[in-house]
Symmetry: C2
Subunit: 224 residues, 2 copies
């Protein structure tokens, strides 16, 4: 396998970040990877428990070259990552679907998508300043500006929350864009062919039943 060396602007491909197929869809530049991560707030966190895979959806945030995930101190992956050595082997995957690709042949049906897969070992964050930074980032990653407009965690809440970090080292993006790729001999078939765009949409904010009168929807929510 040919690999290109890591640069300041790209992650170094490894055996497990080079796909076995559709290699032309793989990307290793940090700009692409960061962009895909920052437009999502849910990741799928994979780990191994008793030899079997477990995949759980969870919030995440990126700060520089670190991904943070948080959860109850009692949750299984966070407990496992709390063991100082060797941490918890994880795979964190983030996916956006951008379109349904309808080809003339069933075989060439596809999706337009952007995904990031990050492999590595996750460790619990014990430094209090880093824990606070991560918790703010987790709130702001979902709604930019929100952490400054809510009550910060108190000591009891901090004690109940575990934060784990995964350094972005073994990372790749994969993406598909564009229209269907039908075979030449199928071009005259009488089926509609094209792409149905898919997007993530926000609805009108619904105030909590007990929201005091006079508190308007903040601009940073309207801006979503």
């Amino acid at each position: 396998m040919t690999t290109t060396p890591a640069t300041e602007t790209a992650y170094e491909p490894t055996d497990r970040t080079v796909p076995t197929r559709s290699r032309d869809r793989a990307r290793y530049d940090r700009e692409t990877v960061h962009s895909i991560l920052d437009q999502a707030y849910i990741c799928h966190l994979g780990f191994v428990r008793d030899g079997a895979p477990v995949v759980l959806p969870t919030l995440f945030a990126r700060v520089g070259e670190v991904l943070y995930v948080h959860g109850s101190t009692g949750s299984r992956p966070l407990l496992a990552a709390g063991k100082p050595d060797p941490g918890l082997a994880v795979c964190v995957t983030v996916t956006h679907v951008d379109g349904l690709v309808l080809a003339r042949s069933a075989f060439h049906h596809s999706l337009n998508y952007r995904s990031v897969v990050a492999h590595g070992t996750a460790y619990q964050v014990t430094d209090e300043a880093e824990r606070r930074l991560a918790l703010d980032a987790l709130v702001d990653h979902v709604v930019p500006g929100r952490s400054a407009d809510s009550r910060p965690a108190n000591a009891k809440e901090l004690a109940a929350t575990a934060v784990i970090r995964l350094d972005l080292e073994e990372v790749s993006a994969k993406l598909r864009t564009g229209g269907p790729n039908d075979d030449a001999e199928d071009l005259d078939l009488p089926y509609w062919t094209g792409v149905v765009p898919v997007a993530h949409a926000y609805g009108v904010p619904v105030p909590a039943a007990d929201l005091a009168p006079g508190i308007a929807v903040p601009d940073y929510i309207t801006a979503l």
Copy 2:
């Protein structure tokens, strides 16, 4: 741990399908599980490779109590599942985000979501009739009605495609609905609180550049 016996209408909870926290959010009835699965078309497929977890996004379809996933015969998980014994231990997770829950306290921020986690062993499907049924289901799961309005796979395409199946036996759903759950002492804080709904939206279909004139967008696409 207390477990309830399996019934015709529910999956039997097991050690790994009973969450360590927020147990009130767990559901085991088939109706809820099927509904969450059928409204999605992307799953996150987890498996173990060289002792480490791998999580890949991929299309899936449900037919009765079976999930099907397909891919190139050369892809890693499909190759691994092709070994007749013991198959491939997998975890298949499907997640919908329905809303951003903004509480007055950072700690009580949350998401409204619906997810399904299915554990088990996946096997390659070798029966040709079942393979065809699965491939049609994979197309129709994304766009109902599409498999009948496209060219079916030919022998060469079938030979290049692997299909794996996971029987739905060890399965749970988890969901959160409703507004924020702030602590009583936070109710007078001056922060906006409520839910921002999140939805999946389809855009206007974009015909392929080489679509012949006179082929209109079919009703089953408009119906999305």
